[in-house]
């Protein structure tokens, strides 16, 4: 249980795992420094959840080793160093928000105060509510509160926003970043490039159970490829379009303008606001295709 105070938060050494004949994780080497917020980005079936389950000690790797703060994942859990939001879990029924959080806090050596916890996860208004009566977004907030209740040094979030609407997502990432700013290490998985881009300081892309890219969000976004948004040429020409959100290049072809963008959603929204959205056409590699391009394989 020796905790090496200067070592990294997480270390994977050639970790692999197979479900019968499927090689879900195929030799992952990864070091996560303390205080880093890392996004594990990849399409469905890339091996994100398997990687996370091994990191949490829920699944023993069949190859390689994993260390969390210099300990085995199981030891790190027992020591209260890990908190996590798992995928595909439901909250237990017939218990209130406060009762659940009080119980979970009580398991950890140095938990957050109940009031801070309720505030941080935006649950103060529904603290007395039973868990089975919560909406999807509220449930996710409770799961987030469960994950941070013990003030864990490593927070792991497996596709935390999968069931959320746009507004809940926004609030959720604010809470997550607030927690990360307190110096905690955070690892989250997602298949949305934007989420990785906005909330992580490092993005690791995995596909086919292997790490295919690792770097800053900006670098990853560029290597994943850009999208094109085409519109009818505005009456007053193409001036100013190059400064719009996400846009990296502007080309004019006769009566049409083609914008290269790293964030087609943001670009289209901005076009709507300016009333320029006419005959729109959005093209670009689907994320899955981009991932496959990164791995150098054909579909």
């Amino acid at each position: 249980m020796a905790d090496n105070v200067i070592g990294p938060a997480v270390r994977f050494e050639s970790v692999g795992f197979s479900y019968r004949s499927v090689r879900a994780v195929d030799g992952i080497d990864l070091v996560i420094e303390r205080g880093q917020t890392l996004a594990l980005l990849g399409p469905n079936g890339a091996g994100k959840s398997t990687t996370i389950n091994m990191l949490l000690g829920l699944l023993p790797p069949d190859q390689g080793r994993i260390e969390v703060f210099g300990m085995s994942p199981g030891e790190a859990s027992t020591a209260g160093r890990i908190g996590a939001m798992l995928q595909e879990t439901q909250l237990v029924p017939r218990v209130t928000v406060t009762e659940l959080l009080t119980f979970v806090r009580g398991l950890y050596p140095a938990p957050m105060s109940l009031e801070d916890l309720l505030r941080m996860a935006n649950l103060t208004d529904i603290r007395g509510r039973r868990l089975e009566k919560l909406s999807g977004g509220q449930s996710q907030r409770v799961k987030f509160a469960v994950a941070i209740a013990g003030r864990p040094d490593l927070l792991v979030l497996d596709e935390p926003t999968a069931a959320m609407d746009v507004e809940s997502r926004h609030e959720f990432w604010l809470s997550m970043r607030r927690y990360a700013r307190e110096g905690h290490t955070v690892l989250f998985s997602t298949h949305y490039v934007e989420e990785a881009d906005e909330s992580a300081d490092r993005v690791v892309v995995i596909a086919g159970g292997r790490i295919v890219a690792d770097g800053s969000p900006a670098k990853i976004k560029n290597s994943i490829g850009q999208q094109k948004v085409g519109i009818a040429l505005p009456p007053n020409g193409s001036a100013g379009l190059d400064g719009m959100p996400g846009v990296t290049a502007v080309e004019v072809h006769a009566e049409r303008v083609e914008l290269s963008t790293v964030d087609a959603d943001a670009t289209v929204l901005a076009l709507v606001e300016r009333g320029l959205l006419r005959d729109v056409e959005v093209r670009g590699a689907r994320l899955e295709d981009a991932f496959l391009a990164l791995t150098g394989r054909e579909r």
Binding site: P60, V92, F103
Partner: protein, 239 residues
Amino acid sequence: MRGYLSVELRRLVRSPGYLSAGLAMPLVMYLVTTGLYDSGQDAKVYMMISMAGFGAVGAALTNGLLVVQDRTNGWLRQLRITPLSAGRVVVVRGLTGMLVGLLPIMAVCVLAAAMNGVRLPMSHWVAVVLLLWLGTAPFALLGLGLGYLVSVQVAQPVTMLLNLGMSILGGLWFPTALFPHTLRVISRFVPTTGYGNIGRAIAASGMPNMADVAVLVAWLAAFAALAVLAYRRAGRRAY
């Protein structure tokens, strides 16, 4: 561990349907079997032990169904990444199943005393309730073993078959004296037989028969082994 027990007990207390379903069957069966024909005092005591035990064994077994639910909804996985040890989770889960079993034991005994005029020395009452309760430990372990082992689809029918099979073969519904010879021999080794006999012997004389205790202890060891194996297997499947 106290925090976890308190959460699980709250969940139980807020499931009145689950609790009353486990109470209704033994109470109704006790009233019907003792009221149907003019049964004597001995039969009233006999059926009191049988029905109290039937209710308690049922509660200990169906507790396994709650474990299946906790496994499938991810609650057990969430607990695994907290500092709460796996052993404590198992102990608390088994204990809650046994505590539910205390309800039919008490209810049937109260009914027997109030409606059927069953009278026992106070020390025998205490011993009967206590041993009927402690005797559910092997069944609670069997319930846990099933809870960790079987799938959602199979859990319900398997639990029901075991509950009915053991109740009938163990003489909780009809006295084993009415069984044909072969069935009576088999019944001798069924855990519910030892369990029921211990309760009856205590009600009659305050002392259990050692052969019955031996049968029950053997089953306790067997079901504990099953529960441990099932739990380890469930762990490897990451639930």
